[in-house]
Amino acid sequence: MKYILILGATSDIAIACAHEFARNGYGVQLAARKQDKLKIIAQDIEVRHKMPVTCHTFDALDYESHHEFWKKLPHRPEVTLCAFGYLGQQEKGQTDWREAWQIIETNFTGAASILNIVAQSYEEQGRGSIIGISSVAGERGRQSNYLYGSAKAGFTAYLSGLRNRLYKKGVHVLTVKPGFVDTKMTEGLDLPGPLTAKSEQVAKSIYKAHRSKKDVIYTLPVWQLIMQNIRLIPEGIFKKMNL
């Protein structure tokens, strides 16, 4: 049986992906800090899809533990989905270094630390698939969330480099850039409908992109267009905008 490892398995997109891969015949390894939540998510996946699910303690910021974590997994997963992230509060982060540090470390350093290990292992065995959830926020720094955005920009560049390195080794790397995602938790919030994807929809597009070995996807194609345009705005104009 094939397995998927999901890092940061309590997020909405991660949960939706766990269901989607299980529906398609994957065993699931859920990894996150909060084990009580994982347990109930695991139970739900097992009942619905009849696939084996295991839960593992994983802390993105506890770098020392990452080697041990990877070694101790009961099965070597064919697919590793890196779904953890921390949005944080931009304004707080501007003055409170703890907050800024946590945003940067979670979204970039933590991801680089664990994926270094995964990449090494996949490279050695000559196969495997790494999926990283980055963000459209990483395409250009905006005053409203540049701490998060710059960390995600770093993560996007990391994934791009990883892809370049591992392509020849038969390892696939997929970068996912979701725009607005409407989850059950944001139900009723005023997100712009045509720009907002449901997490189930995101999961389906991730599975599809994984199957067809895409490199980079925006979970709603319209975001590709939007970000292209945002990237084209000259910095002299961009700096005056309220974004």
Partner: protein, 445 residues
């Protein structure tokens, strides 16, 4: 942050805080941190104000399935799980919902809080009949289990209790064994009210029965209708092609009504035209076919947001039940009133309920009629008149669909109301759970 929230009939609309929870400890935190009254809302498919208030707990993310015993057909799940998700899981294993309303887009918690009924009420009773056990969370964040054996008063007050006993968190209930996912359907035309009553009573042996009724007919045609009967199809009854996959779950082919129709779309003329077409589409007096469960139980689910047909002002659904002996006379009186006012209802559904013993649930032995009315000037006064007729004959109005009845109609229609309210006082002592409906009907004052 407050936002505008409304349920299925787009009336009323309130400004409220929507507080979603995914796990028990998140719910407990919300209950402990919120000083103001709360009410739980699932998928917002109740029609009126039962799940509305200034602070609304959203159970939609709380949707884990805990276990499914495929041998005995028992499911245990959290309250936010929707019926359509359950069907996807249970139908391929040869099970079906014991009771389902006319939409699968409701949560299990909502099914309990409304104690929903379906086309098989005369055979299988309402949803609560099939519940093994419930778990609630009370106003201070404690878990409370109840069933017919354990805290029976709380159990009775929760089934049909409109969320006022606490937050329904987990439901364990029994499923119905089926051989296929198809329904053996029989439709029979009835020329008038006496014919349809006769047909209902002759066909009580069928598991499922419901009639669509044309409210605009009068005189000797009053009550012209089409009765739809159904049984779960046995494997050998299926055509060869379907015998290969007897438990197939129909793929969803859904269209959506993307915006509110202008309110003049539905008028007496268009309603008349629709009803004429519907009745005459059946050439003979009787028709038999085998259909998937989807079009049989959920004909309107294929049109997402069909409520937008009624325009921005919204509509009200009016559903009442009359005791069996009074049903004929009462229905004639009500249909005549609708007729004389040209208050045509697009959707009018008639059903004969079976016996029901319950504290606060809607069904009772007799006929129930559900009508949709777009909101126009004078409608509420007209509905008050209908209430008077319903009360005169000893009937009652369905709380899940109601947004406008006066307290007197509630207290008169539900003879156990005081008993129910006393139990609410015991389990909801600080009135932590309260809704616009509860206030409007003087249930919690």
């Amino acid at each position: 942050m407050k936002k505008k929230i409304t349920n299925w009939s787009n009336y009323p609309v309130v400004e409220a805080n929507l507080l979603p929870f995914r796990y028990e400890d998140e719910l407990r935190q919300l209950l402990n941190s919120q000083q103001e009254p709360l009410i739980t809302r699932g998928n917002g498919r109740c029609y009126g104000d039962a799940a509305l208030g200034p602070n609304i707990l959203s159970s939609l993310p709380f949707n884990h399935i805990l276990s499914f015993n495929e041998q005995q057909g028992i499911i245990h799940c959290e309250a936010g799980v929707m019926l359509d998700e359950l069907l996807e899981l249970i139908v391929p294993k040869g099970w079906f919902l014991p009771v389902t309303p006319g939409t699968s887009f409701i949560t299990v918690g909502g099914a309990v809080a409304s104690d929903v009924h379906g086309k098989n009420h005369h055979k299988d009773g309402s949803f609560s009949n099939h519940i093994v056990e419930l778990e609630l969370m009370n106003g201070v964040g404690e878990k409370v289990r109840c069933s017919r054996e354990e805290k029976a008063d709380l159990f009775a007050a929760t089934c049909g209790g409109m969320g006022l006993t606490g937050v329904i968190t987990k439901v364990k209930f029994r499923l119905k064994k089926v051989e296929s996912s198809f329904i053996n359907q029989r439709s029979v035309k009835a020329k008038n009210i006496d014919e349809i009553f006769g047909l209902f009573e002759q066909n009580e042996g069928y598991t499922y029965s419901v009639a669509w009724i044309d409210c605009l007919q009068k005189g000797k045609d009053l009550g012209r209708s089409v009765l739809m009967l159904g049984e779960h199809a046995k494997r050998e009854e299926l055509p060869n092609r379907q015998q290969m996959h007897p438990l197939k779950v129909p793929a969803s082919k859904k269209v959506s009504i993307p915006f509110n129709f202008p309110s003049f779309t539905l008028n007496p003329l268009s309603v008349q035209a629709f009803n004429f077409a519907y009745y005459n589409k059946m050439l003979g007096n009787e028709k038999k076919d085998i259909v998937s469960y989807d079009p049989f139980f959920y004909p309107l689910d294929s049109v997402l947001h069909w409520n937008r047909m009624y325009g921005k002002k919204g509509f009200v659904q009016y559903q009442f039940v009359l005791p069996l002996e009074q049903s004929r006379q009462g229905l004639i009186e009500i249909l005549e009133k609708i007729n004389s006012r040209k208050m045509g209802s697009f959707l009018a559904v008639l059903k004969l309920f079976g016996e029901q013993e319950s504290l606060i649930s809607f069904p009772m032995r007799g006929y129930t009629l559900a009508l949709d009315f777009p909101i126009v000037n004078g409608l509420f006064e007209f509905l008050d008149e209908l209430d008077d007729v319903v009360m005169k004959y000893g009937g009652r109005i369905y709380l899940t669909k109601d947004a406008r009845m006066k307290p007197e109609a509630f207290w008169k229609g539900y003879p156990n109301a005081q008993k129910w309210v006393d139990i609410l006082k015991k389990y909801n002592p600080d009135q932590k759970f309260n809704s616009l409906l509860a206030q409007r009907l003087n249930i919690i004052s």
